[in-house]
């Protein structure tokens, strides 16, 4: 399978990565190089094989649903590029 330029733009948008028009042909080439590299997997017989979900056989542990080591809103928002009164600030979403 290979991707066309429209697909490259669609993937970039799904991944929330802005791409400039002049980048598209080069990206298309690189993505297609990777996709053709993984093409050989189609030749592997996987009938009746379970997909791997956990590489080490173990049961996922459960814990009580409770606050454990919450550091506080000050600490949580300290690294934010925009924060006000313990909230993250973002550009206006609803007019």
């Amino acid at each position: 399978m290979s991707v066309d330029q429209a697909t490259v733009r669609r993937i970039a948008h799904l991944a929330r990565i802005a791409v400039r028009d002049e980048e598209v042909p080069h990206l298309q080439e690189e993505l297609n190089a990777i996709l053709s590299f993984v093409e050989e997997l189609n030749a592997v017989d996987v009938s009746g094989v379970e997909p791997m979900t956990s590489v080490i056989p173990m049961r996922l542990p459960l814990r009580k649903d409770e606050v454990t080591d919450h550091a506080g809103a000050d600490v949580v928002t300290r690294n934010a590029p925009g924060a006000e009164d313990h909230f993250f600030t973002v550009p206006k979403v609803v007019e």
Partner: protein
């Protein structure tokens, strides 16, 4: 006081500090000086000398009061993928601009618990995506090994320029491998998703182990591909690696894939007899176009182990060839999901846009480098509607087959598997991957199977190439049997002779 404290191995330094022949402050100062003189290599991106000296003083006080830990007073370097409370942590990416985590990773907290001293943060490929340390936002790391035929002057002048032609230290843990090889620290933390501990160790003549998946906590280590990522050490010899791993490993309730099993004293396995151990030699690792010197190195390794009393058996791991392409579906898929959190809202870089969506898109376009953007896009594609079964589910089925290959070998009594660590010696900065990204990916052809199967893997120097560069052998073990790897690796290390690491030309 000894003349050059940076020449000590971690085990020697430990013994010297514990017996009060050397203070931790003296040892730490020697390494701080070495780091300052080696800035041209670009191995450390952040130096924390004041913190290091504070920690060293505290270590000396604990030693004086008889409360020393197993790593007391030993200065280490930390890969920038690890969260270090209040200190720089950016996974060598622009997108985490200015990020200082308010918490400490479990692995580093265990190192400090055991008395280790932090020298600073080490360069790496951005988000651990790369095999040469060239994708770092902070620029490439130069290997302390000079290219064949170069003298110190030529090396120094290249360091002042764009470093082209100097050798890569491997990746993604290239800062770790370079710093350890150049004697800037006694050992370093590293991480391995597809070979990022073992390939840089092989390129620099150092020893690195990727433990079994679940052995070390991933908590506080920036996630790349969660089902493959494992923490581990790089050090200058097998014993030093064993000492570090004991402190790094262990159960952590904060990582749901962490395994609750006791941590053995790995150092005890170093020097243990390997008589009667069954060592598997997988025929599928004899790949087309493999250089004769890699083949010869592998054969030499086989002879050394046989001479030490091991039984050598030919084995088959038929799905080996599928591991690398399957990895380039699984790893980008998981990366695209893990890296969705970098959106310019909670931490790091924010690039404004006309609305929130364009703010996300602009932030991620500017914050991520080319390789990371490429992998996120591949991952997004293989997980997108209509392609999920054809790519991702198929790759996970192939992963089951890869793991089954190893299980069959182990069921037949194989204790460990011996392979080359890399298909070549180190290459030059700027030499590979600029046109076709797959060219760089092929570096991990021997290491990636181990991550896909969750097994422990260790790289140990086996000798030098015809042009005088280090070559590594890889040992692959049964799950949670890292001790066997340390025992077998020690035999190789003893037989190969101590790799004479480069003199300080930088």
């Amino acid at each position: 006081m000894m003349s050059d404290l940076t020449k000590l191995s971690l085990a020697e330094a430990r013994d010297a500090v514990a017996s009060k022949k050397v203070s931790s402050v003296e040892l730490t100062k020697a390494h701080i000086d070495a780091i300052e003189k080696a800035r041209g290599l670009n191995a450390f991106i952040v130096e924390t000398p004041e913190k290091a000296l504070d920690m060293a003083k505290a270590s000396d006080a604990r030693i004086a009061s008889g409360k020393a830990g197993p790593l007391e007073g030993l200065p280490l370097g930390i890969k920038d993928l690890y969260a270090t409370q209040g200190e720089h942590m950016q996974a060598c990416s622009h997108i985490l601009d200015g990020f200082k985590p308010p918490y400490e990773s479990t692995v580093t907290s265990q190192l400090w618990r055991d008395g280790a001293v932090m020298l600073g943060k080490l360069n790496m490929d951005e988000f651990a995506m790369g095999s040469s340390n060239e994708t770092s936002y902070y620029g490439p790391v130069a290997s302390p090994w000079l290219p064949p035929g170069w003298d110190a002057d030529k090396g120094r002048s290249a360091l002042k320029g764009d470093k082209k032609g100097l050798l890569v230290p491997g990746g993604s843990s290239g800062g770790s491998s370079a710093a350890v090889a150049a004697h800037l620290c006694l050992g370093a933390t590293a991480t391995d998703t597809g070979g990022s501990i073992r390939q840089p160790a092989a390129f620099t003549g150092t020893v690195g182990i990727k433990p079994t998946y679940g052995r070390c906590s991933r908590w506080g280590v920036a996630a790349f591909a969660s089902s493959l990522d494992q923490a581990g050490p790089i050090a200058r010899n097998v014993r030093d690696c064993a000492i570090m791993l004991r402190s790094m490993a262990g159960y952590d309730a904060k990582d749901s894939t962490s395994v609750n099993a006791p941590v053995p004293d790995y150092e005890k396995a170093v020097g243990a007899s390997i008589k009667g151990k069954k060592i598997g030699i997988p025929k599928e690792y004899r790949i087309d176009g493999m250089p004769a010197e890699i083949e010869a190195l592998w054969q030499q390794g086989i002879e050394w182990l046989r001479a030490a009393g091991a039984e050598i058996v030919d084995i088959s791991l038929p799905h080996t060839k599928t591991a690398l392409p399957a990895y380039y579906i699984v790893a980008p898929a998981e990366a695209s999901s893990n890296l969705a959190r970098y959106d310019g809202v909670r931490y790091g870089l924010r690039v404004p846009g006309k609305d929130i969506s364009s703010m996300y898109e602009n932030t991620r376009a500017e914050g991520f480098g080319r390789e990371v953007r490429r992998r996120i896009m591949i991952g997004t594609y293989v997980l997108s509607a209509g392609y999920y079964d054809a790519y991702y589910v198929r790759a996970q089925k192939i992963r089951t087959l890869i793991k089954r290959d190893f299980e069959l070998a182990y069921q037949n009594g194989v204790d460990a598997i011996l392979t080359p660590a890399t298909p070549s010696a180190a290459f030059g900065i700027g030499e590979k991957g600029s046109g076709d990204p797959v060219e760089m990916y092929l570096n991990d052809v021997f290491t990636v199977t181990v991550n896909m199967a969750g097994l422990p893997g260790l790289a140990v120097p086996g000798g030098l190439s015809a042009s005088g560069l280090p070559l590594g052998l890889q040992l692959i073990g049964r799950p949670f049997e890292e001790e066997t790897l340390f025992s077998v690796a020690e035999v190789i290390e003893q037989a190969a002779g101590r790799m004479s690491l480069p003199k300080a030309w930088w």
